[in-house]
C-alpha cells in the first residue's frame, strides 16, 4: 500500500513513516505543510493520504482544508485525518461528499499500532473510520432524533461501532455476541434507515453518514 503523509512535526512524521513501513506500507512522500499536499498527491496517486489537521503556514485547520480540497480534486481518494483533538464539526465536513474512504482519528490511536494500521487499511479500501471520541459525543447527545429514534439501544451501539470502522467480527468481539447476531443487527439498521440495497461497504458508509446527521 502506498501512503503520502502530511505532518509538520518531524518527530511524528518520522514515527509514522517508521510505523507504517514496519507494516509493509510504502511511504512514497511525506510533506510538512498544507499547500504541498495536493501536488504530492497528484504526482504519486497513493492508496491513502494520512494528514494532520494543523499544518503550516496558517497552523489552523490547514490540513483539514487541504484534505477536503484533495478529495474534490481527486474524487474517491482515501484520506485519513489525524488530530490532537476531534470535533464533530470536522467529521461532518470531511464526510460531506458522502463517498466514503474517510478516516478521522485522534493521534492517540496510533499507539494501538495494529488497530491503527487496520484503520488505515479500511479507509484505503473505501471504508469510514470515525474516532470513538466523536461517536461517544454523539451517543451522549443524540438518540431521540429522527431517523435514529427507530433504532433500539443495541442497534445504536452497533451503528456507533460501525462508525468507528469496526468489522462485523470486531463488533461481535466488543459486544460479546456472535458475528451472526451482529449481521442481523446491521441488516435491521440498514432497513430501518431505509438504505437502498447496494454493496456492503457503501451501505455501511451511508448508515454511518446518517448516524453523523449528514
Amino acid at each position: 500500500m502506498r501512503v503520502v503523509i502530511a505532518e509538520d512535526l518531524a518527530l511524528l512524521r518520522d514515527g509514522l513513516t517508521r510505523l507504517l513501513t514496519a507494516f509493509d506500507c510504502e511511504v512514497v512522500d511525506a510533506v510538512d505543510n498544507g499547500p504541498a499536499l495536493l501536488p504530492a498527491l497528484t504526482r504519486h496517486r497513493p492508496d491513502i493520504a494520512v494528514v494532520d489537521v494543523r499544518l503550516p503556514p496558517t497552523f489552523t485547520d490547514e490540513g483539514l482544508r487541504a484534505a477536503i480540497a484533495a478529495r474534490a480534486a481527486l474524487p474517491g481518494l482515501p484520506v485519513l485525518v489525524l488530530s490532537q483533538h476531534v470535533e464533530q464539526l470536522y467529521a461532518r465536513e470531511l464526510l460531506s461528499d458522502r463517498a466514503g474512504g474517510i478516516g478521522y482519528l485522534l493521534k492517540d490511536r496510533i499507539s494501538h499500532v495494529r488497530q491503527f494500521v487496520d484503520a488505515v487499511r479500511r479507509v484505503a479500501a473505501g471504508g469510514t473510520v470515525i474516532d470513538q471520541e466523536v461517536v461517544t459525543q454523539l451517543l451522549a447527545r443524540r438518540g431521540h432524533d429522527e431517523p435514529l429514534a427507530a433504532l433500539t439501544a443495541r442497534e445504536r451501539e452497533v451503528l456507533g461501532l460501525m462508525a468507528e470502522g469496526c468489522s462485523n467480527a470486531a463488533i461481535a468481539g466488543r459486544l460479546f455476541v456472535t458475528e451472526k447476531a451482529v449481521s442481523k443487527h446491521i441488516n435491521s439498521i440498514l432497513s430501518k434507515l431505509d438504505l437502498p440495497p447496494a454493496d456492503d461497504v457503501n451501505r455501511r458508509v451511508l448508515a454511518v453518514l446518517t448516524y453523523l446527521n449528514l
Partner: protein, 447 residues
C-alpha cells in the same frame, strides 16, 4: 592637644554653615533659575502666542485659513504650557497634562484635527491662561530671579571689576561708589542680598505654579475622561496580551508536550509489535520512548514556569526574583527589601516584568554585570533593573519593553528607561500596591 586647631575649627564652621545653607541654596538656585526661564519664556512667547491665537481664531470664518492654522497655533501653545507644567513640578506643584489623545490620522489641516482641538475643553482653558499667564510669568519670574541675580552679581565681585574699569556707579546701599573699599563692600552686600533672595525665589515660583495650576490642570470631568480613556486602552491591551498568551500556551502544548506524548505512544506501540520479530529494533524504540518522555516533561516544566512559576507560589516575589537571578548567565547583584507578600496578580506581573527585562539584557545588551533593586514603600512597589551593557534600549523600538509597559499598565504601573548609547541601562518600574500579608518572623514561621 585639648583644643582643636584653627583649621579644624574653620572646617567645622564651614561644615555647619553649609549644613544650614545647603537646604536654602540649592532649591533657591533652582527656583531662581526656573524664574529666569519662566520670565524669558513668558515674555518671548506670550505676546506672540496671544496674537497668533486671536488671529487664527478670527481667520476661521475667512477662507478657512484659521481652520488649518488654529490647531497649529494650539500645538505651540500646548508645548509652551507643557514647559510651564514641568517647571511647576520644581515648586512641588503637580499639574497633570489635560489634553485628550489625538485620534490616528488627524494631521494638520484635517477637519478631524480641527474638531478635536476645538472640542477639547483644555484648548479653551489654555487660551484663557495665555494673557494672565504671560503677565504672571513675567512678573513672578522676574521677582524670583531678579534679586538673586543682583545678589550673585555683588557676591562674584562684578561691581569691583566694573569700578576698576571706570564704568560703575554703585551697588546695594552704597551709591555712588567712590573708592575701591566701597566697591569691595559689594561682595558681603551681595551675600546678604542673595540669601533672602534665594528664599523668596522659591516662594515666588511656588506662587507662580499655584497661579498657573487652576488654568492648566485638567478639570475634574477631563480628568475622569482621561482616566476612562486610559483604562479602556489598558484593558484592551491586557485582553490582547492575555489572548496572545493563551494562544502561545495552546501552541506550545500542541506542538510540544502533546506531540511528544503521541510520539511516545507510537514508539511504545511499535516496540510492542516488534518485541518478538525484531527485539533489537524494539529496544531502540523503547530507548527513544524514554528520551521522548523526558523531553515532554522538560517542556511541560518550562511551560508551567512560563504560566506561573512554582517558586513564585512558594517564595513570593523576592524569592522568585532571587531564583531568577541565579538562572541567568550574567552575574546579578540582588538587593531586595520586601517585608511581605503582595497580591498574587501583582506578584506575577512584577515577576514577569523582571524576567522580561533580564531576558532583554541577556539578549541585547552584552552586559557583564546586572543589578536588581526591589523596594516597597506604602502603596508602591519599585523595581530597578540596571546593567552595564551597550545601552540604546528604546521602548518604542522593541516589543519586549513595550510588552513590559503593557503588563504594568494593567495595574496602573509605569516603566521608565534610561539607556544612553554605550550604557548603562536602567529600567525603573513602579506598581501601586499594598502588601497582602506582613511577613511573619522566622521564629513563628511554619513550614
Amino acid at each position: 592637644m585639648g583644643w582643636p586647631s584653627f583649621t579644624d575649627t574653620v572646617a567645622a564652621a564651614r561644615r555647619r554653615v553649609l549644613a544650614v545653607l545647603s537646604p536654602v541654596v540649592r532649591p533657591g538656585a533652582v527656583a531662581a533659575g526656573c524664574g529666569l526661564v519662566v520670565a524669558t519664556l513668558s515674555l518671548a512667547t506670550g505676546p506672540v502666542l496671544i496674537v497668533l491665537a486671536l488671529a487664527s481664531l478670527l481667520l476661521v470664518p475667512v477662507l478657512g485659513i484659521g481652520f488649518a492654522l488654529f490647531p497649529m497655533v494650539m500645538t505651540l501653545v500646548r508645548a509652551v504650557a507643557n514647559v510651564h507644567r514641568r517647571l511647576a513640578r520644581h515648586s512641588g506643584v503637580e499639574i497633570p497634562v489635560p489634553y485628550r489623545p489625538l485620534p490616528a490620522g488627524a494631521g494638520f489641516g484635517t477637519w478631524r484635527r480641527f474638531r478635536c482641538t476645538v472640542g477639547d475643553p483644555a484648548t479653551w482653558r489654555d487660551l484663557a491662561w495665555l494673557l494672565p499667564g504671560t503677565v504672571a510669568g513675567a512678573v513672578l519670574g522676574l521677582a524670583a530671579s531678579g534679586p538673586s541675580g543682583y545678589g550673585l552679581e555683588g557676591l562674584l565681585g562684578v561691581p569691583v571689576l566694573l569700578y576698576l574699569s571706570g564704568h560703575w556707579h554703585g551697588y546695594g546701599a552704597i551709591w555712588p561708589t567712590e573708592s575701591l573699599g566701597q566697591a569691595l563692600l559689594s561682595i558681603p552686600q551681595g551675600l546678604l542680598i542673595l540669601i533672602p533672595a534665594l528664599v523668596i525665589a522659591r516662594w515666588f515660583m511656588w506662587l507662580h505654579a499655584s497661579f498657573t495650576r487652576p488654568f492648566l490642570r485638567p478639570t475634574k470631568a477631563a480628568e475622569l475622561a482621561l482616566r476612562v480613556t486610559h483604562l479602556a486602552t489598558t484593558r484592551s491591551d491586557t485582553l490582547d496580551a492575555q489572548a496572545a498568551e493563551l494562544r502561545r500556551i495552546e501552541r506550545d502544548l500542541h506542538d510540544g508536550a502533546q506531540a511528544r506524548i503521541v510520539a511516545l505512544g507510537m514508539n511504545i506501540g511499535l516496540a510492542e509489535e516488534l518485541l518478538r520479530r525484531d527485539p533489537a529494533a524494539a529496544q531502540r524504540l523503547l530507548a527513544d520512548a524514554r528520551q521522548t518522555s523526558g523531553e515532554a516533561l522538560t517542556e511541560l516544566r518550562a511551560l508551567v514556569r512560563g504560566i506561573h512559576p512554582p517558586v513564585l507560589v512558594e517564595r513570593g516575589l523576592a524569592g522568585a526574583v532571587e531564583a531568577l537571578a541565579l538562572t541567568i548567565t550574567v552575574p546579578v547583584e540582588v538587593d531586595l527589601d520586601l517585608p511581605g507578600r503582595l497580591l498574587p496578580p501583582i506578584e506575577s506581573t512584577a515577576y514577569f516584568a523582571v524576567a522580561e527585562t533580564l531576558a532583554n539584557i541577556t539578549r541585547h545588551s552584552g552586559a557583564r554585570r546586572v543589578w536588581i533593586i526591589l523596594r516597597h514603600t506604602p502603596g508602591r512597589l519599585t523595581i530597578m533593573v540596571g546593567d552595564n551593557g551597550c545601552g540604546g534600549a528604546d521602548p518604542a523600538a522593541g516589543t519586549g519593553l513595550r510588552g513590559i509597559e503593557r503588563r504594568l499598565a494593567a495595574f496602573d504601573g509605569t516603566m521608565g528607561v534610561t539607556s544612553p548609547p554605550g550604557g548603562p541601562t536602567v529600567v525603573m518600574m513602579e506598581l501601586p500596591c499594598e502588601l497582602s500579608s506582613p511577613k511573619t518572623s522566622p521564629s513563628s514561621e511554619t513550614a
